[in-house]
Amino acid sequence: METILQVKNINKYFGGIHALVDVDLAFKCGEVHCIVGENGAGKSTLGKIIAGIHKSDTGELVFKDAIYKELTPAMAKELKIAMVTQELNLMPHLSISENIFMFEKDSYLNNVIINRKLINEKTNKLFEHFALSNLPPVTTNVENLTLAQQQIVEIMKANSQKNNLLIFDEPTTTLSIGEVKQLFTLIRDLKQEKVSIVLITHRLKEVFEIGDVVTVLCDGNIVKNRIPVKDTTERELVEWMVGRDIKDFFGKKETLKIGKPVLEAKELSDGDSFKDISFTVHENEILGFAGLIGAGRTEIMETIFGVRKQASGEVLLNGKRIDHLSIKQRIKEGVSFVPEDRKGKGLAIKLPVNSNMNQVEMNLKDGLIVYEGQYWEKNEDMVKQLRIRLVNMLQNVTNLSGGNQQKVLLSKWLSQDPAIFIFDEPTRGIDVGTKTEIYALIKKLAKQGKAIIMVSSELQELIAICDRIVVINEGRITSVFDRNNASEPKILEKMIPAK
């Protein structure tokens, strides 16, 4: 296969952090090249340097035979290099077709007036080409699309020209199973068309499903360069990524004696996204919730916690109804909720670490006067206990890594010692090392007698951690699996809507 692009001796610094160290890597036509590594390993940075979004400090890029010191986004476009970045860069108030084609010169009559008819046609043609059918009309504004559909639009934007090299940065994080399938079909098509594909991913399964070669990054260094996928295993990849031997990724699961019921939901509904939800979670029990994105899992949890209006049904805590209570009162009764969207719903992003940790505690405190310093020792204990890596507690919480932010978010509830923990995607977007710590923490809490609900889109994780797994499909419970008879295929079958 022909090499289309080579990066040579790339070094990149962000302030004092050496993000990429002497990276040499080749990309070939008609090949799916996966890049894996922990958070902060430098995967996205590498992708962005290739796409001209970041500039490298040293090194060069060799495209076909031409040598470039660095690329700009415009040059990358000319060389037909495109990247689907992790953050969506769409304009919500513009239509799908405008989002895809508005930066093309040909989209304008005489360079001035937008030719809507043309771009709509072009967009429809593009969708047909990739056999995308379940999208709304191309004149729909992007703000009316689901997150997954927006991601598809973003991918289409990158494919609006025929590319030589196409980089996907974690494209599947926001997609549901069906859409992932669609994306992989698309990638296979592109491969047929001799496009060089770079797939940056967290999900190692995907590497084996679609990758040809895999490169492993650890702390900015390439630890394994272009290993053929068929010659490696998932476990091996994890060990290379973490740079150490992981004995048991999920930890050992002890079978605990299940205690008395803690939280009960009876025929719960919000009148919109879910209906007839009944389940019980007991002391010492970890209850998993599986389902596609948009199946209604988050909505159920938000309703139980009280941030979403409940239409009918009952929620009982220790046999007492709590669904008429305010959020604050529910927290006092012992409910806690760690939301999935860390930056959107979880953290006060402009405040320091300690203020974030104290938020729940201060709100519950009686009286008018608080002094945040009074919690300082408690905060320090928490930092030690959870091994949160930070410079100091007055540091702004946005400057922590994803894993450490998640720990701060957890600590805000841990200090309240609630009876039930509801974790919504507790390991999303965090590195492998922190994941194992969070699994250990969840298991420790169960051992202490807490009831735990864990919503997750990673089935492996649910199967490894949970005692029982509830499957939600289009807002209803389709099945409950016991830990002993749960398997990925069985759960998947129940997750996917019947056609």
């Binding site: 959020i327 320091p352 709100n363 008018l368 007055l394």
Partner: protein, 326 residues
């Protein structure tokens, strides 16, 4: 914060770099004007500066709290005028206590109406207060017929002239309000919740904080402090006219923004606002002494505002990079 363990002086400066930045600007202005004019540093002139900024300073305290929640109060000047005009009119017609009480009540009521409308309709504070700005000022015109109230009773002059240990009453009131305000923001639950809500309202809700209840508080405080501010000003001028507070809407916001409070909420302090207020006062006073016309002064204030916020933005991104580096 409990000190001594992790935070060094460097940390303190870094966490308050914006306040320090504006503070340095203020000191530079002070030095320039005291060199340029021998009268600048005279006690009388300094008190004069403080008087000139007393109304806007007190309003800026309330405005800071509103802005910290991520809101804004455009009706602050109208509340100032409405409660002030009624107070003066009633002091003259009925009596001192009655006038004061009704003026205060009207101020609080106006603030409560703003807070209530924002909590109930969930509309942008900008829109609600843009509406009430017009409503409250309209009411002033209706009841006053656009007439001023003057020749207020002598008791107001007595209060204005009162000095404690040689410090004029308005300076004392100004100082007390800033100190109480800062203590309120840092050491009361409501104060901390104001920061939490402004920083991320959704996250606050997910922590169980009754967001809309807390969001009302700063608007009510606007009502209270508008009354205090207008009282000081009318006592000094011994009169009030129907347009007394028109400029104060935007001037109070200018002072808050120069002081480093983010218009998006969650970041800022009354220390910054105090410096911002002083900066505006010193600038006006100093330029006056140097014979710069008031028309030009407006231009200068605009330039300072943009320059201050631009430099703050640079500071914040530099600080972010610095922490990333660590």
């Amino acid at each position: 914060m409990k000190n001594g363990k992790n935070n060094t002086l460097k940390d303190i400066i870094r966490n308050n770099s914006i306040e320090f930045g504006v503070g340095v600007g203020l000191i530079i202005l002070f030095i320039v004007f005291s060199v340029a004019s021998p009268y600048f540093l005279k006690t009388n002139n300094l008190y004069n500066i403080l008087y000139q900024v007393s109304a806007i300073g007190i309003l800026a305290v309330a405005q800071t709290m509103v802005i910290l929640t991520g809101g804004i109060d455009l009706s602050i000047g109208s509340i100032f005028t409405l409660s002030g005009w009624l107070m003066c009119f009633l002091i003259k017609e009925i009596g001192f206590i009655e006038g004061m009480a009704i003026g205060l009540l009207v101020g609080l009521l106006c603030g409560a109406i703003n807070g209530f409308l924002i909590a109930v309709t969930r509309l942008e504070p900008f829109i609600i207060t843009l509406g009430t700005m017009s409503i409250f000022h309209g009411i002033v015109y209706i009841i006053s017929n656009s007439k001023a109230v003057s020749n207020l009773p002598i008791i107001l002059e007595t209060i204005d002239d009162y000095q404690l240990l040689g410090i004029p009453s308005y300076v004392i009131i100004l100082l007390i309000i800033f100190i109480l305000g800062q203590l309120f923001l840092f050491y009361t639950k409501t104060g901390r919740m104001i920061y939490a809500i402004g920083s991320n309202e959704l996250a606050a809700r997910f922590s169980g904080i009754p967001v809309h209840l807390y969001k009302m508080v700063p608007y009510v405080l606007v009502g209270l402090l508008s009354f205090v501010a207008v009282f000081i000003q009318s006592a000094h001028l011994m009169a009030i006219d129907a347009n007394a507070g028109t400029n104060l809407n935007l001037e109070s916001i200018t002072a808050v923004v120069i002081g480093g409070t983010s218009l998006l909420g969650g970041r800022g302090s009354l220390i910054g606002t105090a410096i911002g207020v002083l900066l505006i006062g010193v600038l006006g006073n100093g330029l006056n002494m140097m014979g710069v016309s008031s028309y030009w002064q407006r231009v200068v204030v605009g330039v300072i505002l943009i320059a201050a916020v631009a430099s703050q933005k640079i500071t914040i991104s530099a600080r972010g990079k610095f922490e990333e580096k660590k």
